[in-house]
């Protein structure tokens, strides 16, 4: 352990101010039981004057006088203080047994790591080597066992999907609760602010706490079923003003392409096989050779600049300003963001009143571009020019399929350049998150602390979408509308708690009691105008939609921590929550938890077992709730709605009327509840050479908020949200870190985590076990449809498909799907019923959920050089390759040529003898189901730190990195890591590779 600590200390010391002033000189050596300590800090107290020890543990410091107090510190050791004149030549530092007592942020408070009973993982932001990071979620990818971060698609501003220990809900939200400095963040920030984590600048983050089990999360009760991520931002510290600049420039490159036919190959193929479509090749007798995928992509740039100023003193403060520009690799599309973060943390009244004031402001401007270009770049006929050629009536305009009278063929594919250049979709968003925390230790009764937190999260977004006037898309629209929209979201929270903590010597008691009130308000406005010049004229109003809604959450909560002899730790929490989304009789839900931890290492019999440096057993149980059913904030209320749409009026005999209609509702709706059991062991071996933890969890969600079939005739839809169904989610998490080499100049460690999970729906109908299940997932065709089924005994989104039939050579036969369903014979084997119908679909047992996912990383440091590689992967997740399906057959040429256009084909995916119309059954064949297990090298980083140590500049770090380095997979699509939870791969914006140079200067 000492070696690691030593190494850490070296790194740390590198950042410490190193300059001396005249006066008294002290020199000596700092050692521990093993030998010299490198990088211990020797500092003159009350000043910035300090040095760190050299390779032999030696130091030399000039202090102001012989009476100056000198403090010698090193992480992991107990600090020592001497008068300058009395410093021994050899200072022996002893290990600090409280070193492990890192403070961990948990709900409504903090706890020493050694006292923790729940499953909480912490990630310190500065432990992370990174390339270009435009959103904080990226920092968590592959870092924590049980936390699965699926990165967003390559579209700037898109959000990633975060799951803690798998999905616990079927229809309600599965996103974890995000709490930033005590403010719970709403996931619904409106368009352009869909990613709640994007509202915080990654550079401002101090640490993440990932709360995984119920004993940790139950204190958040109602919103904690999917785990909690607490983000703590950096605060002002120290005793002088420090300035930090952190910036990066990245080049983004799209490096994967589909193997489409080029113009020559395509023309030859069509002429030979589909002469009826050959007329449509080329333009005016010329067959061009356009690579549409090349046409739409570019090198994108991502640049990031941050300046922060922080200082301590009477009013510790930190102000930071950040700017990020992220350009898509698709030619149109970028996201610009500016962040301002201010925090003040004064202590008043003899340090009895701690005040924390945090305010963040985000301004974001997004040009979404048109992702439709990606699919069209594959489909569009490669024998066409990009633009109409010279001498043509439409010369210079983007080439498209027009009919003989000059009207666009609305059935035809659109030139991807039209998607990019003839469509505007821009958004700007303003968001602010802030809070004021008053924490008061009562004078004369210091064991009792009162804490009040008033916080807000307000976002306002607005945007415009329209076709360029006169463009192909404008002509093809019916009618051509220009849309203006705006969202306003406001989330206000008030919380208060009292905390009593007392040390009885043999034990330690901490009891907390609190109250929370939260109001969430959403307003949405969408107005369509006829798209004319000038736009947005009142007389061109077409129609509009608006929606206003709100909900309230009110809670009472309490927690007791009891620590006996530093060996036995007990935690009990209770939270009573009420949500306005439920009727008064079902409104309140009680969410308790209990946990026990045993610090085995602190037992007498373990004291002498030196090989084990840390050993703790944790047991936890608890319940959490879920009320986030999505858009409907009044699901229990019998509601009528007046239609406002001018497009949906009915002629009631000479006059048209908007309609009035009742809506489906469920007065019996109540909380969905997740019950969690957790067992964990934390350990450290050989002086923390090998550290890690193993945990097992069992989550049982019941009263699932589910969209179920309603008996027709009793309600106003065939589906209503009801509390139906159970789900079980089991898993084992392993987290290991091994320091292979730890020497004076070298450090090499390997860390990894793996999560094994098993998710199953255990009940789906209140009536009948033969319940056919709920259609979910995505369409595999051009019409809507479903790829998966929720069904008892299967994982959510288990694919529900037909069996493909193959010929003797193993080639799939088009439209031949196995006829398996029908009556069963005496032996219980199904007798085919002579036709392939819906009933021949089967549950494949495969789903987008991996049975294992993992992250690994390695760090190497040599002197001032550092190097790291991070990777992550998953095993057992399957994907439906809809892109491959789309290019597997050539019948499209027959059908589309009848509609007046033709589409390109793919060399890798095409089955030459597949020339028929593809049946729905074929579209939902298991042929398209592919194992999408993968391993990705996420990033490789190399850095060098210059320790300047000057008054005006402490240090400079220069680093270079490559992100999205490579993917190992058998999947035939571009990227097996699908942003869609349904597992259907349909042309998402590819994730580019990034080459980044980063500069960090500390003043």
């Amino acid at each position: 352990m000492k070696r690691i600590l030593t190494a850490l200390a070296v790194l740390l010391a590198a950042c410490v101010t190193v300059f001396a002033q005249g006066g008294y000189q002290v020199k000596g050596v700092v050692v521990d039981a093993v030998g010299p300590i490198i990088g211990a800090t020797v500092i003159e107290q009350g000043t910035n004057n300090g040095v760190s020890t050299g390779l032999d543990g030696d130091y030399l410091i000039k202090v102001s006088s012989a009476d100056a107090m000198i403090e010698i510190t090193c992480i992991g050791y107990a600090p020592q203080t001497f008068k300058a004149s009395e410093v021994p030549a050899t200072v022996l530092l002893s290990e600090d047994t409280h070193f492990l007592d890192e403070v961990v942020v948990i709900g409504y408070g903090t706890v020493k790591k050694s006292d923790m009973t729940g499953s909480v993982a912490t990630v310190k932001a500065d432990e992370i080597n990174r390339g270009a990071v435009s959103s904080p979620d990226q920092l968590l990818m592959g870092k924590v066992a049980g936390l699965l971060v699926t990165p967003a698609s390559g579209q700037p501003g898109a959000s990633s999907t975060i799951r803690i220990r798998g999905a616990a809900s079927l229809n309600a939200s599965n996103d974890p609760l995000i709490v930033i400095d005590g403010v719970p963040i709403t996931g619904d920030g409106g368009a352009g602010m869909g990613n709640p984590l994007a509202s915080v600048n990654p550079n401002d983050i101090e640490s993440y706490s990932v709360l995984k089990d119920a004993s940790a999360t139950a204190i958040y009760g109602s919103r904690a079923s999917n785990g909690v991520i607490i983000i703590t931002t950096k605060k002002g510290v120290g005793n002088r003003i420090k300035v930090n600049y952190n910036g990066s420039v990245s080049v983004k490159q799209n490096y994967q392409f589909f193997n489409m036919m080029n113009g020559t190959e395509y023309a030859a193929y069509v002429k030979e096989n589909y002469p009826m479509a050959a007329d449509l090749l080329g333009y005016k007798g010329t067959e061009y050779n356009t690579n549409w995928q090349k046409e739409i992509y570019r090198l994108g740039v991502n640049t990031d600049h941050n300046v922060s100023v922080l200082g301590g003193g009477v009013v510790p403060f930190r102000v930071s300003l950040g700017y990020n520009l992220d350009q898509a690799t698709v030619k149109v599309g970028d996201n610009q963001r500016a962040n301002l973060d201010v925090s003040l943390s004064p202590k008043l009244l003899d340090d009895h009143l701690n005040i924390a004031l945090n305010a963040k402001g985000i301004y974001q401007k997004t040009n979404w571009g048109n992702p439709g270009a990606i699919g069209n770049a594959l489909s569009f006929d490669p024998t066409k020019p990009t633009r109409f050629p010279e001498g043509d009536a439409m010369a210079g305009t983007i080439w498209n399929w027009y009919g003989s009278t000059g009207d666009p063929n609305t059935m035809a594919s659109v030139n991807p350049l039209s998607n990019l250049y003839e469509w505007t979709d821009v958004n700007s968003a303003l968001r602010s998150i802030g809070n004021l925390v008053l924490d008061y230790k009562i004078h004369g009764f210091e064991d009792l602390r009162l804490n009040a937190n008033i916080g807000y999260d307000v976002a306002k977004t607005s945007g415009e979408k329209y076709n360029q006037l006169g463009s192909r898309s404008a002509k093809a629209a019916s009618p051509d509308k220009a849309t203006k929209y705006s969202n306003f979201n406001s989330n206000v929270v008030f919380e208060m708690y009292g905390d009593y903590s007392h040390d009885f010597g043999w034990s330690n008691l901490d009891a907390m009691l609190g109250y929370s009130w939260q109001h969430n308000y959403v307003e949405y406005n969408n107005i369509d105008y006829l798209n004319k010049d000038p736009r947005w004229q009142e007389e061109d109003y077409y129609n509009g939609k608006n929606d206003k809604k709100e909900y309230y959450l009110v809670s009472f909560f309490g927690r007791v921590n009891f620590n006996v002899l530093e060996k036995y730790l007990f935690t009990v929490t209770v939270r009573e929550d009420a949500s306005s989304r439920f009727s008064p009789k079902n409104r309140w839900g009680l969410f308790p938890s209990a946990a026990f931890a045993w610090n085995i290492k602190n037992e007498d019999f373990m004291k002498n077992v030196n090989v084990i440096s840390q050993l703790k057993l944790r047991l936890g149980w608890g319940r959490t709730g879920q009320q986030d059913i999505g858009d409907n904030y009044y699901p229990y209320l019998a509601k009528y709605s007046f239609s406002t749409s001018p497009n949906m009026m009915y002629d009631m005999g000479g006059q048209r009327y908007n309609t009035l209609s009742p809506e489906a509702y469920n007065p019996n709706l109540k909380w969905e509840t997740t019950e969690t059991f957790n067992v964990g062991v934390d350990f450290g071996i050989k002086g923390e050479m090998l550290t890690g933890s193993i945990e097992a969890y069992y989550r049982h969600t019941f009263d699932l908020l589910n969209n179920v079939s309603a008996p027709l005739g009793t309600n106003f839809s065939n589906r209503v949200i009801a509390n139906v169904g159970d789900m079980v989610n089991k898993g084992i998490e392993i987290n290991l870190n091994y320091n292979i080499i730890e020497s004076r100049d070298w450090h090499w460690s390997i860390g990894g985590n793996a999560t094994f999970q098993d998710i199953k729906i255990t009940k789906l109908s209140n009536f009948d076990d033969t319940y056919p299940g709920v259609h979910v997932g995505d369409s595999m065709g051009s019409n809507e449809g479903y790829s998966s089924l929720y069904k008892k005994g299967y994982a959510p989104y288990t694919y529900y498909l037909y069996h493909q039939v193959y010929d003797t050579e193993g080639k799939p036969i088009m439209n031949m799907l196995a006829d398996v369903a029908g009556a069963t014979d005496a032996d219980g084997n199904p007798i085919p019923d002579g036709a392939v119908t819906e009933s021949d679909r089967y549950l494949t047992g495969k789903s987008p959920n991996p049975w294992m996912y993992y992250g690994i990383n390695t760090h190497v440091r040599y002197k001032n050089w550092d190097f790291s590689i991070n990777g992550h992967g998953s095993v057992g997740n399957y994907a439906l390759n809809k892109v491959r399906k789309g290019y597997s057959y050539s019948y499209g040429l027959v059908d589309s040529s009848a509609k007046g256009y033709i589409n390109n084909l793919n060399k890798s995916f095409l089955y030459p003898d597949w020339t028929d119309v593809m049946s729905t059954a074929q579209e939902y064949s298991d042929l398209w189901l592919e194992n999408a297990s993968f391993f990705k090298i996420d990033d490789i980083n190399l850095g060098y730190t210059f320790n300047i140590g000057k008054k005006w500049m402490e240090s400079i770090r220069v680093a270079a990195s490559v992100q999205n380095v490579c993917t190992f997979t058998a999947y035939t699509g571009l990227d097996p890591e699908l942003p869609s939870v349904t597992g259907v791969d349909s042309n998402f914006v590819p994730r580019p590779r990034l080459y980044t140079i980063r500069l960090n200067i500390n003043f």
């Binding site: 009207d407 009562i442 008996p711 027709l712 065939n718 056919p772």
Partner: protein
């Protein structure tokens, strides 16, 4: 001092804690268009608006957006009641083939449907049952007690009329349930939020419907008579037409024929002032709901490209049937000069089986397939050449041959609004095969075609053609067929034959003096192509399917599962 601070701070904490309260949890909708059921009905117009949604439920998929269904279903456009009702009644016969690969289409087309819920069954079953529930809720909300409670007694009579209309629509929806699914769940007002409805046998539902409709057509009924409400709202004649249709099929539903009753009610409707519209094609044009053309409509569903939007119904019948070539051959044939399109879009799906054409239609002068194919290819080549001409002058020089529609319309049934592209037998794999139907071509009665493109910013992709649930000719056929059934399947009755003669005269055909049931239904096959009548006619003729279990469709499995045993599946599924 310190004590004071403590006091202040502690009391401040306490105060804030008390002020915030749990009463906030009682939220109500904030939108001005949202309201609770207690206060939804505020004035006379609001009752009419409530009725409007029931009346619109044949073609509206939601109250606000034609692209979003108000029931949980795969595809909004394909969830329209009328669209899928047509599929369940025509696609299952040879009168309609659809070239899209959807499994529900091939299941119905090839008579291989099973008890597994498919999109057509889900749409028709769910929407009818929701329509019934909407009507039930409307009846609950419009009782005398409720009106009195709200102080709405002043327009009690108006509301009574609305109630009668709601009951008529409920009958329509239950009639469809009886006809398609046989033994549906039977829900009335008390089942809303109450007990699960029980299953009703087909014959019992027939009796209930008969009683209900007879009450609506009685003199005491508040159901409006013809002229009391304007087109397209249903009146007593619509109820009588439904009775006539039910009586014609009574034997199928109950085992007991009711030919006399069928004749009686058909005759009552016929004699109430309807007349055959002289030009058959105009019955399916975009202005067919206007006074110019709706003279033979008894009850129709309104579509409007702007104000009553739907991606099903007549939009599908029009765009679904067209491809590009068809547009190019038809436009000159129909005299459309300025634009070359007679459909809104070209979805290239709906076809007509040549066998069906040969069996049922008087079609003459058919070009043989090979010659036809050459004609089509030549025309396509010319169109292609013209579109690629370097200069407008050069384009002008290229003449596109007018190739007609592939048969001699002057010596054929004038109702055969068909054409072909030179491929014979309909095959799903050849998208240009089979006969194509332009009955719903996107035209107006002044001879102009709907303008494509967004220049004038209209909703040009959607149809404004109304769809008639009951037109006068059906009453003629019912009368004639019922009379024939009463006379050993042949009618020589002057009135009956006269009715059919009127229809055949309009079609330019001669009429014999005696008509068999087969002859009557053969004529109807031409008159009512793609109007949702064929399945019933084939069932009555006994030729629908050798497996009689298929004469009704299966109930929705998901509904059976949701019911916990109150429903049982139909025999054979």
């Amino acid at each position: 001092m310190k004590k004071n601070i403590t006091k202040y701070i502690v009391s401040a904490f306490a105060l804030v804690a008390l002020v915030s309260c749990v009463k906030d949890l009682n939220t109500l909708p904030l939108n001005d268009y949202d309201t609770t059921s207690e206060v939804a009905y505020i004035d006379e117009e609001s009752y009419l608006r409530g009725l409007a949604y029931i009346n619109a439920y044949y073609n509206f998929v939601s109250r606000d957006d034609a692209g979003n269904a108000d029931i949980s279903i795969d595809d909004a456009g394909q969830s329209e009641l009328l669209r899928q009702w047509l599929n369940m009644n025509d696609l299952c016969t040879k009168s309609l083939d659809i070239g899209w690969g959807d499994s529900y289409i091939s299941d119905i087309e090839s008579h291989t449907w099973t008890n597994a819920d498919n999109n057509a069954f889900i749409a028709v079953y769910t929407r009818c049952m929701k329509g019934i529930t909407l009507a039930n809720e409307f009846l609950l909300q419009t009782t005398d007690d409720k009106l009195e409670l709200r102080g709405h007694t002043a327009f009690k009579d108006k509301v009574a009329q609305f109630r009668a209309e709601a009951r008529f629509h409920r009958c329509m929806f239950y009639y469809i349930m009886m006809d398609e699914f046989g033994r549906p769940p039977f829900a009335l007002e008390e089942h809303i939020g109450g007990e699960l409805p029980k299953q009703i046998e087909r014959a019992d539902l027939f009796i209930w419907l008969e009683t209900e409709l007879l009450d609506l057509v009685s003199d005491e009924s508040a159901m409006p008579a013809k002229g009391e409400v304007a087109y397209p709202r249903p009146n007593k004649d619509a109820a009588k037409a439904l009775l006539a249709r039910m009586y014609l099929n009574a034997e199928v539903y109950t085992g007991t024929p009711r030919w006399e009753d069928a004749k009686k009610y058909a005759k009552q409707v016929i004699d109430n002032g309807y007349s055959l519209h002289p030009k058959y094609q105009e019955l399916f044009m975009h202005d067919n709901g206007q006074t110019c053309c709706n003279d033979e409509f008894i009850f129709a569903i309104e579509y409007d490209h702007y104000s009553a939007q739907s991606w099903g119904g007549t939009t599908t019948l029009s765009s679904g049937a067209f491809d590009d070539v068809m547009n190019n051959m038809l436009a000159p044939y129909l005299g459309i000069k300025d634009v070359a399109y007679v459909s809104m879009e070209v979805w290239n799906g709906y076809h007509l089986n040549p066998e069906y054409v040969e069996e049922n239609f008087e079609i003459n002068g058919v070009t043989d397939w090979a010659t036809r194919k050459k004609e089509v290819d030549d025309m396509k080549a010319a169109v292609q050449k013209k579109s690629e001409a370097a200069t407008p002058e050069e384009a002008e020089k290229i003449v596109i041959p007018e190739i007609g529609i592939g048969f001699d319309a002057s010596i054929s049934d004038k109702r055969l609004l068909l054409c072909n592209e030179g491929e014979g037998e309909y095959k799903a794999s050849i998208s240009t095969s089979g006969w194509r139907v332009w009955k719903w071509a996107a035209m107006t009665s002044d001879g102009s075609a709907v303008k494509r493109g967004g220049d004038d910013n209209t909703d040009w992709k959607l149809s404004s053609a109304d769809f008639a649930i009951f037109r006068l000719p059906e009453m003629y056929y019912i009368y004639a067929e019922a009379d024939a059934r009463l006379h050993n399947d042949v009618t020589t009755d002057a009135t009956a034959v006269g009715y059919i003669k009127a229809l055949r005269d309009r079609a330019g055909l001669s009429t014999p003096s005696s008509l068999s049931v087969e002859a009557i239904l053969k004529d109807k096959a031409a008159e009512y192509l793609w109007e949702g009548q064929r399945r019933q006619d084939e069932i009555r003729l006994g030729i629908f399917d050798s497996d009689k279990n298929r004469w009704v469709y299966p109930l929705l499995e998901s509904d059976i599962a949701a019911y916990n045993g109150n429903l049982t599946q139909n025999a054979g599924y």
